[in-house]
């Protein structure tokens, strides 16, 4: 919109927006800063903002003294694994929904969505028992499975909205050109939908990384991802702010970076295409 804007107005808006942005971001920033303090400085009153002795000690301690790297690795395996598995199942499904629409296409999509709305707590007990009896409690395999199922509807939906934007004529052209279904998906659909597939992967890795119901209830120790590991800091002994901050920073940093890349697609993915 070609609005006439005075510099003074723009400066005011800028000041205000930056201040509010800074306040909202402050807890994250404070966590990052605290992670470089000593435990003493972390609780010092008055707290020092930037002028303290910067130290990497907390990161070293967290990495050495606990099983932090293992939990980090669990998070990576569980979030990436469940997302890849989900996309693998969802691509053919989304192809069907987007390019061979039928009378029931809409119902299928809505039904998939409805599975996402079932509150997890409604099936907590049976899932716990199934996991216990199948020996899946506290295993990465089990968590990958559950998170795949949880995010599958979102993955199908996101891919569906991206596939919908590809003109059906192009796939028909491929078919006329003698492409088999495999070639059609491999050489035409996938490369064309690559940006969409990438943002689907990104958003679902983020969602899986931060999932904190099933991971907390189904994995207590060796398969616990960072969500569960960090939760164990809730009943600490002694000085721990700096170490908590270091562990937290490492837990949120990768996702913060991925998230900033995916913010444009975020809206669409999280609203199931209702807001673009």
């Amino acid at each position: 919109m070609a609005r006439k804007t005075t510099t003074a107005r723009k400066a005011t808006v800028t000041m205000l927006a930056w201040t509010i942005g800074f306040i909202i971001f402050f807890p994250v920033l404070w966590t990052i800063l605290t992670s470089f303090k000593t435990e003493g400085e972390a609780i010092a009153a008055p707290p020092s903002f930037l002028f303290f002795d910067w130290t990497m000690e907390n990161y070293l301690t967290v990495n050495e003294r606990s099983d932090y790297p293992r939990h980090f690795w669990n998070s990576v395996v569980i979030s990436v694994g469940s997302t890849l598995l989900g996309v693998l199942i969802a691509i053919p499904a989304a192809w069907s929904l987007a390019f061979v629409p039928g009378r029931r296409t809409k119902d299928v999509l809505m039904w998939m969505l409805s599975t996402k709305m079932m509150p997890a707590v409604g099936v907590l007990v049976p899932m716990y028992l199934i996991f216990r009896d199948a020996g899946l409690l506290d295993t990465k395999t089990g968590l990958v499975g559950v998170l795949t199922l949880i995010n599958l509807p979102i993955i199908v939906w996101m891919l569906y909205t991206y596939f919908k934007e590809i003109p059906a004529e192009i796939l028909e052209a491929a078919r006329m050109d003698g492409a088999s279904l495999r070639s059609e998906i491999l050489y035409v659909l996938t490369p064309m939908a690559l940006p969409g597939i990438a943002s689907t992967l990104l958003l679902n890795i983020i969602l899986a990384w931060n999932e904190a119901f099933w991971t907390l209830n189904l994995a207590a120790a060796k398969a616990a991802p960072l969500t569960a590991f960090i939760a164990s800091y809730s009943s600490p002994e002694g000085l721990f702010y700096a170490k908590l901050s270091a562990a937290s920073t490492m837990a949120i940093a990768p996702i913060l970076i991925l998230g900033w890349f995916s913010q444009k697609q975020l809206v669409r993915g999280l609203t199931f295409g209702a807001v673009k």
């Binding site: 919109m1 609005r3 804007t5 723009k10 808006v13 800028t14 205000l16 927006a17 930056w18 509010i20 942005g21 909202i24 971001f25 807890p27 404070w30 009153a45 053919p92 499904a93 069907s96 929904l97 061979v100 039928g102 809409k106 999509l109 809505m110 998939m112 709305m117 079932m118 509150p119 997890a120 707590v121 409604g122 099936v123 007990v125 049976p126 199934i130 599958l152 199908v156 796939l171 931060n210 904190a212 119901f213 907390l216 209830n217 960072l226 969500t227 960090i230 939760a231 809730s234 937290s248 837990a251 996702i255 913060l256 991925l258 998230g259 975020l266 809206v267 999280l270 209702a274 673009k276």
Partner: protein, 290 residues
């Protein structure tokens, strides 16, 4: 694009997803339903017996249930109120011309990417702690008595933490909606003599209504399941002061090992969530041209 052949292939290609979700939806839910009619405690294996509706009667008449129901409503409503109003204001602000808009966007969106356990722990310890928290330091610096957030108003504290996590979501969606507002519509309204306030009331707000509804419905679905934030901060306490429905079911089934009671609570939660879900599905379904 609709030959018999391609239809057959399509059915084949969609079946793994459909079958998996069907199993995921039916099997555990059916088990929950079944358990909800049993007297079944994990500490007394082999003692299961038919209990009729007694689990439901027990769960629904438990005073903790009413507290939990009230707490759930307060939490959901509180977070919605803060995020929707804050989100509209922030979106309007961020939609104005300014320097460094991209960076402000990044700052505002950040909390959404912080995992729930981290944000709960950071807020509880580093901000709300009555001894070492930043708020306590600030209060002391002003000569005031530090406030023990989690002990004195646990539900409000949790509401604030959750609202901080969800404000970016509301802002981002409303900002996207604002930016899709046809600028010619605004200019036409301006030509028709509408001032900034009338333009907001008669053009911007109607345009945002749909997105606000979507934000409310989607957040409600997620907020009904808030769990980690409570587990990490208050454990539902003191007493049941910050126990929500989700947390109550968790306590009953995972801490008291009362599978039957927990299952009954789970079914109640499913029914409540479905009421919200029906509205959300209508909204999304209307928008879907399949």
């Amino acid at each position: 694009m609709a030959t018999q052949h391609s239809r057959t292939v399509a059915r084949l290609m969609i079946s793994p997803a459909v079958i998996l979700l069907l199993l995921w939806m039916i099997v555990p839910l059916a088990m929950t339903l079944y358990f909800s009619f049993l007297r079944y405690n994990l500490l007394m294996p082999g003692m299961e017996e038919w209990a009729g509706f007694s689990n439901y009667r027990y769960f629904l008449t438990d005073p903790a249930f009413f507290t939990a129901l009230r707490n759930t409503l307060v939490l959901v409503a509180g977070v919605l109120l803060i995020t929707v109003i804050g989100g509209i204001l922030l979106a309007l602000l961020l939609d104005q011309p300014m320097w460094g808009q991209g960076i402000v966007r990044i700052l505002v969106i950040a909390p959404f990417f912080v995992m729930p356990t981290v944000s709960a722990l950071v807020w509880t310890n580093m901000f709300m702690n009555p001894v070492n928290g930043l708020f306590a330091h600030a209060a002391k610096a002003l000569g005031l008595q530090p406030y023990d957030f989690l002990a004195q108003s646990p539900l409000l504290s949790i509401t604030l933490i959750v609202a901080w996590q969800w404000l970016p979501f509301a802002t981002l969606i409303l900002l996207t909606a604002l930016q899709s507002l046809d600028s010619e519509q605004m200019e036409a309204a301006a030509m028709d003599g509408a001032g900034p306030l009338s333009r907001f009331i008669y053009v911007t707000m109607p345009h945002l209504t749909r997105s606000v509804t979507v934000v409310i419905l989607i957040q409600t679905i997620f907020l009904l399941s808030v769990f980690a934030e409570i587990l990490v901060t208050t454990n539902g306490g003191p007493g049941t002061a910050s126990t929500t429905l989700t947390y109550l079911v968790y306590v009953q089934s995972m801490l008291q090992f009362d599978v039957g009671g927990g299952a009954a609570g789970g079914i109640v939660a499913v029914i409540l969530a479905n009421i919200v879900a029906i509205f959300l599905m209508r909204m999304i379904g209307k928008n879907l041209q399949a």
